[in-house]
């Protein structure tokens, strides 16, 4: 898990998106919303989110055309992210 996360965090945008969720753990937002907070292109943010959903570090709640993304609530994953964030 840590290795996979380290790998995807090599990408600057993915790191920024994860930092956003790490710093705003209560946030639930759409890809469009997240792209505004990290000031980047919506489609690029969408791919970064998809990668993080796959690893379980970000959770996705979907209904029809509405997708909400939020930070994981898995204790183990949160611990890994915390240690990685301290290294950044």
């Amino acid at each position: 898990m840590k290795r996979d996360l380290k790998r995807i965090l090599k990408d600057k945008l993915t790191r920024e998106v994860l930092t956003f969720f790490y710093q705003n753990q209560s946030s639930v937002d759409s890809a469009g919303g997240v792209s505004a907070w990290v000031s980047d292109d919506r489609e690029r943010v969408q791919s970064a989110l998809d990668r993080m959903v796959e690893l379980g570090v970000v959770e996705k709640d979907s209904m029809g055309s509405t997708n909400g993304y939020c930070y994981t609530r898995d204790e183990q994953i949160m611990k890994v992210v915390k240690s990685l964030m301290q290294d950044v």
Binding site: N24, Q25, S26, S27, V28, D29, S30, G33, A36, W37, E59, D61, M63, G64, T66, G68, C70, Y71, R73, E75
Partner: protein
């Protein structure tokens, strides 16, 4: 000045010292003034107020450290700072061997946050040059202040904007479904996310019994959950509902779901960080619960509406069944059969539901056909058959007055069209016939075959299946026939069908 104010002034000074515009000022005026020494000092009141005249403050010492030739001028510089501090204006001074200097206090909102001390001027600065210098410096201060204000605003606004965006997204997610069974766990999940708690439980009010009934509970620690009914007025959820206000304890937060009336309660337990629930959590949950209550009420109204529609449909179907020529239907097994076939054709829940309604009502138009025609033993005359052929159109005319059934009108209209184009009323062929109507054609024909009519015996299920297969590609769509035959031969469907037919 309070400590918050002094922190703000220290921040302003640092920004000013690092500002690009100050470097530009130093570079532009420096050339004009023949390269004087620029000292930029912070306002440190305790240091500058020292009683001993010859002692030099730490800040001054630090600033002149890099300027060897000014080392002996510390006391003089401190004195001019004191003067400037008192007058809140530029003060001239002399130092070294015939050198001149100027101290200018840096001010914001009437408060001094630092000083620029110019040393090593070959001659005293004229009042015109002083004006230019001060205007330049004030412009830099103005820019820096704007920058700091913007930074401050961003610090305050950003978290609020993020919270607002969260509320908006949560609202969208909550209102995207009218299915209560889907909605309640979603509200619980989103509440857990926003408040970062371990457990969330949603209970709805049962007015008759004055109880709160558990409807959705999520525990992230995967603890075994006992879903308990709670009496209104008891425990935190019950008290929150009774009082109509949130009840907050160290490890729990119960917030009533209030629309026009209290419809239920959301209770959160144990924050992830182990801290106690705060007033801020309460405020956020109040906003979220208002949205949740509206979403729940909408879902409940939708369910009531759906029940009403279904009851009306059942009522019409019952009226049809009560006519002597219509056989009773095996309702549950046909619902199941339609569901299986619909899923095989990737139909969504609404499409399947409409197809189920169509199966119940497909012969509604027969109500306007004379009984003697419908019950006639033997072959119909051409005129009589023409009358029978009007029943899809008449059925559509009757049902279109009931708006929720609008989607089934094309299905009813086309369920007697044959796949090879020999059917009625329009003689549609192949895929010109809507898929749902092609399915209904097979299902209704099968249904007619296995039910007893006054003028003929019912066929057995295997015989009816054989008959359906025989008409594939002519009367029926082969693909529909294949899926239908697979579905009807499933053990569970067959068992249900036989059980229902036995009762009829």
């Amino acid at each position: 000045m309070g400590s918050e104010g002094s922190v703000k002034m220290e921040h302003l000074f640092l920004k000013f010292k690092e500002s690009l515009n100050l470097s530009r000022e130093i570079s532009a005026l420096g050339k004009y003034l023949k390269n004087p020494t620029w000292l930029v000092l912070p306002e440190v009141s305790d240091e500058y107020e020292q009683p001993k005249k010859r002692e030099v403050s730490e800040s001054v010492k630090k600033t002149i450290d890099g300027h060897e030739h000014l080392r002996k001028e510390g006391a003089k510089i401190l004195r001019v700072i004191k003067r400037s501090r008192k007058s809140k204006a530029a003060e001239m001074f002399q130092h070294g061997e015939k050198m001149h200097g100027l101290c200018y206090p840096l001010m914001a909102e009437g408060e001094i946050f630092g000083y620029i001390v110019l040393c090593d001027l070959k001659k005293a600065m004229s009042s015109d040059v002083q004006k230019i210098f001060m205007a330049f410096t004030d412009a830099v201060i103005h820019e820096v202040r704007k920058e700091v204000e913007l930074e401050e605003m961003n610090k305050t606004i950003r978290p609020r904007a993020i919270a607002l965006s969260t509320v908006h997204t949560v609202h969208r997610l909550m209102t995207s479904t009218l299915n209560l069974n889907e909605l309640l766990p979603r509200i619980a999940r989103l509440s857990l996310q926003v408040i970062r708690a371990n457990r969330c439980s949603i209970k709805l009010v049962d007015k008759k019994r004055k109880m709160l009934l558990p409807k959705a509970t999520i525990d992230l620690r995967r603890k075994k959950i006992r879903l308990k009914k709670v009496q209104i007025g008891k425990y935190a959820p019950g008290r929150a509902v009774k009082k109509g206000t949130p009840i907050r304890g160290r490890d729990y937060l119960a917030v009533p779901l209030t629309d026009e009336d209290v419809v239920g309660v959301i209770t959160l337990y144990d924050r992830l960080d182990g801290k106690e629930f705060t007033r801020f959590d309460e405020e956020i949950m109040k906003t979220l619960s208002e949205q949740a209550a509206i979403a729940i009420r909408n879902a409940q109204l939708f369910m009531e509406q759906t029940d009403l529609t279904l009851s009306s449909i059942k009522c019409i179907a019952q009226l049809l069944e009560d006519r002597p020529y219509v056989a009773h239907r095996a309702e549950a097994s046909f619902h199941k059969l339609i569901y299986i076939i619909g899923r095989k054709f990737n139909m969504n829940e609404t499409e399947i539901k409409m197809l189920q309604y169509a199966v119940m009502l497909h012969d509604a138009g027969q109500i306007s056909i004379p009984e003697k025609v419908l019950m006639k033993r033997g072959e119909l005359t051409g005129r009589e058959f023409d009358i029978v052929k009007t029943h899809p159109m008449k059925g559509a005319m009757i049902l279109k007055k009931f708006k929720p059934l609008k989607p089934i009108i094309p299905i009813i209209l086309s369920h007697h069209e044959n796949f090879d184009g020999t059917g009625y009323p329009k003689g549609l062929k192949g895929k010109e016939i809507p898929l749902a109507a092609r399915i209904l054609a097979v299902v209704s024909a099968f249904e007619a075959m296995i039910t007893k009519k006054p003028y003929r015996k019912a066929l057995s299920i295997p015989a009816a299946i054989k008959e359906v297969r025989k008409n594939a590609n002519t009367q029926f769509d082969l693909r529909v026939v294949e899926i239908f035959c697979d579905a009807v031969q499933r053990k569970d469907v067959r068992k249900l069908l036989e059980k229902e037919l036995g009762k009829i």
